[in-house]
């Protein structure tokens, strides 16, 4: 879990079964373990109304465990971007009583929440649980480019190349942390790079 910090930084909880008619899960990698833990607490038949969208990532693990929950729909996507149209269509066709559960990396939770916000779902009604990497999705405030999987402080913008201070300031709308040039005043000042978001 991430250390306590500023108020705009998202706070994640632990998934738990919610009353509802349909249950939509979006998870990546070790996020699958959060779904398994929820399943252990869920009433019988809970997954009969469940749809799981899962992005296993490079390890390719946990697929069988999720399939064993027998959700009415299961989708394995090669990346979040490729699963996004399916998620958007599901949200667009959803009715009252849909509950949304997001688990895994911050980038996955943030981007799935972004799609949910655009579909009119209140962020406080969404269950989230952070599992796995602490890597951040960072928006460069200068060129507006998004750099994925940032693990270092400072980090180099993968678009404009500026050296960025990765702030805790977070935008749900952009699903990104803010990156601001760390040596804007004097480019010759290069602070040491540390890997802190692993």
């Amino acid at each position: 879990m991430a250390a306590k910090s500023i108020i705009s930084r998202p706070v994640y909880g632990t998934l738990s079964p919610q009353p509802g008619k349909h249950h939509l899960f979006v998870a990546d990698a070790e996020g699958a373990l959060a779904i398994s833990d929820l399943a252990a607490k869920a009433p019988a038949g809970f997954f009969r109304d469940a749809h799981i969208i899962f992005i296993p990532g490079r390890d390719g693990k946990h697929v069988a465990a999720l399939e064993a929950l027998n959700p009415v729909q299961f989708h394995q996507g090669p990346s979040f971007a490729s699963a996004l149209p399916r998620l958007k269509q599901t949200l667009a066709n959803a009715h009252m009583g849909l509950r949304l559960y997001l688990a895994g990396t911050e980038g996955l939770i943030g981007q799935a929440m972004q799609a949910a916000l655009e579909a009119g779902i209140d962020h406080t009604s969404i269950q989230t649980e952070h599992r796995g990497s602490l890597a951040r999705r960072v928006q460069c405030v200068h060129c507006k480019g998004i750099t994925e999987n940032v693990t270092t402080q400072p980090a180099t913008c993968s678009h404009c190349g500026l050296l960025l201070l990765v702030r805790d300031h977070y935008s749900r709308r952009l699903a990104a942390f803010q990156g601001v040039c760390i040596n804007a005043e004097d480019r010759s000042e290069i602070p040491p790079t540390e890997e802190i978001f692993r």
Binding site: I6, I7, Q139, V141, H142, K144, H169
Partner: protein, 346 residues
Amino acid sequence: MGITFRKETFRDDFTFRNSPEHIRRFPFPFHEDSYMYAVNIEPHVVGPKGSVLENLIDVDEHYVAEMQDRALVLAEDPLRCQSLPHMTLAGWDLLELLMEQQALGYPEHFTLARDGDRWRWINRPLGIDDTFTFGDVSTLPYGPMEYITRQSQGDFCILDQRDGNLWMDAGMVTTQADWSLDFDIGMNFFEWHAPVPLAHEKGIFTRALKFLTNIQQGKPARRLNWTMTINPRLDTSPENYHKWGPDRTTVTPENVGEKVHLRVELQSFWRLPRSNGIVFPIRCYLIKMDELVTQPKWARRLHRVIRDLPEELANYKGLTRYRPTLVEWLSKLDDGSPTSPGFGPD
């Protein structure tokens, strides 16, 4: 007679100046010889003639040049002006407020004529004469918020009120002190203030939110905030920080008076009648040290404030690099004699 609008720039050759009358009316933000955060909110009522509070929406000699600078910023980066889809009605509310206030305060420069929903707006300094239908977006060249805030000094944030909170859901922000509308749009009051040090722990934002959500129509409120800027640059956005940041390394004992500027924000808060939103104009006033120290009381007081400012605040305001040079320069104008209470010059 009216205002004589200056031809000047806030970039490149930086020809911005205040006339002697405008130096005297500068909203100096320190009422005592030290500074710490406080919920310094008071009713926004009309103040003395000749002050920036003579009218509730102030128009001054920098009006035309500031509007030209805004147009340059927007041409470069249109995301400085954004309005989420549910905020259009609040934009009309703001258009009405600013047209009414500017026409009321400066009839020689602005005229608003209304015939039902058919409105005619004449803005003489900018050479605008438009007739449009109030509430019909297709009759204006921009959305209502963008249209009127391209003709009004200061940044404008429109806050939606719901769930006991205020949400930054629309704004025109081109003269900001280092915060990004594009990043913060859609955030609630606590979230967009998240990076501010010390104030959360002091409960400042909880109290401020309580006050703001209770603001009533026709009873606006105001507060002052301040920072410092090197060169009279209006666009000190984070977007362009890598362009203006190096200015902070250019301060020397010889150029403090010309380069270092006190930047004061007159923030006001108004309930909007149709949308129930709050509009939050952030009006920026700049004054260079050479101009400020023509008032000996302000020179003495500013020296003491900057010298004694807590380190965290100095860092947050971006003063750290040039503070010693500035304090040394100001110290020569401080003979240690007492300063009179209150903001105004002696």
